[in-house]
Amino acid sequence: MNNPCVIPARPEDVVGDKRWESMHKRYVTEARTSEPEVVFIGDSIVQQLQFSTIWTEKINSLHCLNFGIGGDRVEYVLWRILNGEFEFNVPIKAVVVFVGTNNTDCTPHEVFEGLLEIVRAVKSKLGGVAIVLPTLLPRGQNPNPYRERNDHVNTFLLDKFENPANAEPGLTENVHVVRIHGGIVQGDQTISHHVMHDYLHLTDSGYAKIFEPVHSKLMQILKN
């Protein structure tokens, strides 16, 4: 029984314009030629973060690279890390990994195992670098199975990385799970389009509120 989330893979180019490959190649070049201290890697929520006010006014001053690709699944991010996007010429101080919401056909545990595989891959490339894992966000205007799925992934993540009993040498050191999923679902169980304009992607004010804890954690890490 193979878990697709732990097997590095590239998406198929169904459209024929090779956009994913172009972006990957651009990121490989950026890794080689830039001098970042922080690297963000993940899906569309990471990619669009770079156009937000919190990025331009706060996060980017920490010398960041943004390796987000819209639509990315856990296994595509895994592949990218192992195939050039993490070949840097300078020491990296922190990596932010945020992916999983697009693995809609996988179980929470499969997604969780995939994220662990990503952590292992990052560590294989960058040693003891600090790894920041923001919790997966809820989605959809009303309660639905994807919200529960993402919630379960978060439960697994918090249990693995915050419970000392689950510490695993070579895996759990210097990994910081940051809770960002609270305060999005309202009292009536809906998500407002003022926070997520399409009930998945964040508005500018959504980013400002939800990624502030990530910014704070990075400031903490970089101070040490």
Binding site: V14, G16, D17, R19, M23, N144, Y146, D198
Partner: protein, 228 residues
Amino acid sequence: MVKMHPCTKPLPVEDPDGDQRWMSIHNRFLSETREKDADVIFIGDSILQALQHTDIWNELFAPLHCLNFGIHRDLIQNVLWRIQNGELDNVRPKAVVLHVGTNNHQNTPEEIVDGITEIINSIKEKLPDVYIVVPSLLPRGQHPNVIRDKINLVNEILKSRLPIIPKVELIAIDKGFIQPDGTISHHDMHDYLLLTNAGSKKAFEPVHELLLQLLNEGEPEKDLTPSE
């Protein structure tokens, strides 16, 4: 006899076990038509949805009282369904900006143009007097590719088909993106599909100019007699 191409058959986005986001967005658009007065409605796919988050939207289009009914990934037949199911029902805009087709990569150029024509017919059924602005489809992908060729053909066919339809304005917005070496810069399209702030200015400033003209065309002549 009308030949039923897939692009001319209205189709909602089904989401049987997921999070129903498409239907939520459609319903929100229906509410907006009941709550807001709009002079211009933008309806279409990923390009229009992304446009709403660029600087140019706030600077140029918001002041014109626009609604943005773009949905990422929409196909021609999804936009057709939305128009036939209420998104133009409770509004009286002066212009509709229609931009869809890039996601119909599995259709032929003729099918795509047939679909766009069908959408235009539906819009005219709902709003007989409205101006319909159709920006040409944009190229995509960093390097030359088959999709660019297809999009070029679509734009060619649109050029021959649309000018004969009254109150439809086809406007070219695709020039200036393909560089001399054949590549598209990520400074214009950050993922070689969606426009950056710079790219959206280049493509949609002409649309803004055209809208200003169309919106002012109906204005009565100003009385130039000085008051006593």
